[in-house]
Amino acid sequence: MLLIRCPYCEEERPELEFRNAGEAHIARSANMAGESDDDFEKFFFIRSNPKGIIYERWRHMHGCARFFNAVRDTVTDKFIMTYKAGEPKPSNLPKISNEVVAK
């Protein structure tokens, strides 16, 4: 089970409290009815599904119930960081080692 840090509660909590809400930073059109079929397909169905770094949305369903974003490695399932909804997509990601850090 993943441990996920909610940026609002500022706490690491078990995955059971959260609901994954799919890929992040997909902008919804202000004029949905005017979207072409191609653009609607891209918005609604096409996903980047990366093997590596993913930007995704989570909801702290059984906590503060708020949506936030996370950066995770889909190969190791390790979280690199989480940040509040509305904040820009982080460009400089902190380095994460796959070794367990001795405490």
Binding site: M1, G22, D37, F40, F45, I46, R47, S48, V75, D77
Partner: protein, 417 residues
Amino acid sequence: MKKYSVFAIAREAMRGHKGWEEQWSSPEPKKEYDVIIVGAGGHGLATAYYLATVHGITNVAVLEKGWLGGGNTGRNTTIIRSNYLYDESAGIYDHALKLWDGLSQELNYNVMYSARGVMMLAHNVHDIQVLKRHVHANRLNGIDNEWLTPEQAKEFCPPLNTSKDARYPVVGAALQRRGGTARHDAVAWGYARGASARGVHIIQNCEVTGVKRAANGAVMGVDTTRGFIGAKKVGVVAAGHSSVIMNMAGVRMPLESYPLQALVSEPVKPVVPCVVMSNTVHAYISQSDKGELVIGAGTDQYVSYSQTGGLHILQHTLDAICEMFPIFTRMKMLRSWGGIVDVTPDRSPILAKTPVPGLYVNCGWGTGGFKATPGSGHVFAHTIARDDPHPINAPFTIERFRTGRLIDEAAAAAVAH
């Protein structure tokens, strides 16, 4: 290829089993092939087999980054059925089911297809309505499916708990008698042996790292960990990694990859005579010929390529199994594992040509692709050989997500998504 038979066993018994030959060869890759298949799982090997046997195309390479049948082919719960709701799905899954019947003879390889029946349980009024709708839709498509009372369900599967005070009482069931199980490894091995005997090259430990395209956009071949291999036609059959390969060709896919877990118990004497599935409590179970209970769980909620999933997913499934079969509450589980499944938005596969000339894709089988292996390979071989889909897979395009002509099989895995 030496034919397997009772006489072959007798002959080899007489001479110390020294005459058995390798089931498939492991040749060095050539510089160029007519067709490259990416992925030596069941679907990829079946595609190569039918390219050779039906279409006479034998200059084919099947590239596999790991070992043959080591991905989802070796990780699934081996369930076979064709009781899908929509006409398009009925077409492709029943095409596969018809090929399962007789596949061991066709391949001269015992795939242990056992039509022991697949029984789907109803626990409430909504389940009854949904499953009866499936029964009627299937019968209109000429697919066997019948409605059972709780008493009949109990008779068909004696260990099932049908008591009225169960937390989720069984109020009926839909039974497809032609459904059942098969030995998943043997399916990959049988197709590999058949394809190899006809000249197909199966190249293991050869990971595709890029897809090369010519100036006009058409496919030229693939870069691999063993160098460039040319081909004018490339079929991508890479399951959970399909979108990764397609990205190499510049095609973004309507796919997301999730971990799906399964587990087996210690082996016991025959106790579960059929496959039992429940959408509502979310579990499915059968018993292998070795005696292990084979239990399938649901997907994790997040995109991952880790081939592991959360323990709570397995726990949730075992809760349901113990509810359906209280006699198993003290069974020990031996192993659990995960595979990565590629899921489409409408839960139906994609078997189609792509916007790139010479590039074909067979993916999106999600949580239930094993059952379709023979049919999928058969129609995908047709699509590659003729550069035109077979009528059975014609609806399973990528373009359906633009046109909106979806094949919305929410019941694809018979579990709630």
